[in-house]
């Protein structure tokens, strides 16, 4: 991977280098997560589920990925 095309984001409290140009859906897929099973908070705003593909991930973004957990 060419370092100049990478950006640095923070995912669940950890810094990560990811390719520039990914959207939220692409990021989830690259992490092996199903978009329908994860709530995404980007820079403290929840991204509506229907807007994952239209929401870019940009340098310095702070992302929190929260799984649906339903057991009791």
């Amino acid at each position: 991977m060419d370092a100049s095309t990478d950006i640095t984001v923070r995912v669940n409290g950890r810094e990560r280098r990811i390719p520039r140009g990914l959207n939220v859906e692409g990021l989830l897929r690259s992490l092996g997560l199903h978009p329908a099973l994860v709530v995404v908070e980007r820079n403290r705003e929840i991204v509506p589920r229907g807007e994952y593909a239209a929401t870019p991930v940009e340098e310095g973004d702070v992302l929190e990925l929260v799984h649906f957990v339903g057991g009791g």
């Binding site: 409290g13 649906f68 057991g71 009791g72």
Partner: protein, 385 residues
């Protein structure tokens, strides 16, 4: 809440360690005695909730659970003992609570929470602790609490991960602010499918109980606007800010004015356990399969579970190919050969059958009800898990 009741000398001694805390003291203990808390679900989370809230002197505990104690519950549901297996949970719980603290009044609702009965059941309680085991009930609890103006202590668990928060407090967010709609039912593995480390609900339910107690006392820092994420495998705790969402249909725009049963919820609550929510997948019953096999028909038995499950029990002559490796192992399968796919209860194998049919296998069937039904109907000598 009506004026808090007074304590008898026996109660004063019993709650001594609370009364010694200036943050609780006599006034707080009397508030606890005057409080009414509803527990939705008497399972992994409901167990520590019931035990600690009863021990702490909550005056009235409501319990909603329609289920009976099963042997597989005892690995984590510490409210019950071996002798309770087969008994209604609400009855067993009532006895255990009476033994622990006879001052607690128990109201049991041996029923499933539905959009029809939720408001009626919740209406007389001050706070709800949600220990349910499915998404439709979680949305129902949230929406009903908002309609009635009472908060709920949320807790949920899966495998090694848990979540805790206090939702639907005036000014704070609700469950729908974070999780707007339920996930598609077919993508959700149940605890019965995914497993759970036994201590996890003990930890998460106890955290919920702490929130309930502090809310009743009106003191301490509550998990309002914060979602606590617990991972017992890495032993990491993380908390996330959740703000009330003005567009939230439950607490923001308030467009949810009556309770709805979330999509496909009735179907999946029971179906997730036996794979019958995959109705379009061709399947054979265990008896049919046993019949064909006894006639010597050449059928490949394909086990799509993990190796850790295979080693517990498997069908004689079967071949293992875990579901997640199916695409890459495809070339090792003969599409001309009759194939029956199975897993524990028929859910994962139904997905495998659908996939195989999509890629051109026409002679492939699901084993209806999975290994569990095979054991029930054909070979009871195999262990159930």
């Amino acid at each position: 809440m009506s004026p808090p009741p007074s304590l008898t000398p026996e109660e004063i001694l019993r709650y001594s360690r609370h009364l010694l805390l200036p943050e609780v003291a006599l006034g707080g203990q009397r508030k606890l005695k005057g409080s009414r808390v509803l527990l939705v679900g008497a399972g992994g989370l409901g167990s520590p909730l019931a035990l600690y809230l009863a021990a702490a002197g909550v005056g009235t505990l409501g319990l909603v659970d329609f289920d009976q104690v099963d042997l597989t519950n005892l690995q984590r549901q510490v409210l019950f003992g071996t002798g309770d297996v087969g008994r209604p949970k609400s009855h067993a719980a009532r006895e255990r609570i009476r033994d622990l603290n006879p001052h607690v009044h128990v109201e049991d609702f041996q029923t499933r929470l539905t959009s029809e009965n939720a408001l009626e059941i919740l209406r007389d309680f001050h706070i709800v602790a949600d220990g349910s085991d499915n998404f439709p009930t979680r949305y129902l609890v949230n929406d009903a609490c908002l309609l009635l103006g009472i908060p709920h202590a949320y807790g949920s668990i899966f495998r090694f991960e848990g979540q805790v928060s206090l939702f639907a407090v005036p000014g704070g967010p609700c469950y729908r602010c974070l999780f707007r709609q339920p996930p598609p039912p077919e993508l959700v593995p149940s605890c019965a499918e995914g497993g759970v480390l036994g201590v996890l609900p003990g930890l998460v339910g106890t955290l919920q109980a702490a929130e309930v107690l502090k809310w009743i006392l009106g003191a301490g820092d509550l998990l309002i606007g914060r979602l606590l994420l617990v991972d017992v495998w890495t032993m990491a705790f993380r908390s996330l800010s959740v703000r009330p969402d003005p567009r939230c249909p439950a607490c923001g725009t308030r467009e949810i004015r009556e309770l709805v049963t979330e999509e496909a919820s009735c179907a999946w609550a029971s179906a997730a356990e036996d794979g019958s929510h995959e109705p379009d997948v061709p399947q054979w019953s265990p008896r049919e399969l046993a019949g064909w096999l006894s006639q010597g028909r050449d059928i490949l038995l394909l086990d799509v579970r993990g190796h850790h499950e295979w080693e517990i029990a498997h069908l004689p002559g079967a071949r293992i190919l875990p579901l997640e490796y199916l695409p890459e192992g495809l070339h090792t399968l003969d599409s001309a050969r009759e194939t029956v796919v199975y897993c524990r209860n028929g859910t994962r194998s139904a997905r495998a059958v659908r996939f195989l049919r999509e890629v051109g296998f026409t002679r492939v069937w699901n084993l209806e009800g999975g290994l569990l039904r095979w054991i029930e109907e054909v070979d009871p000598s195999l262990p159930r898990y």
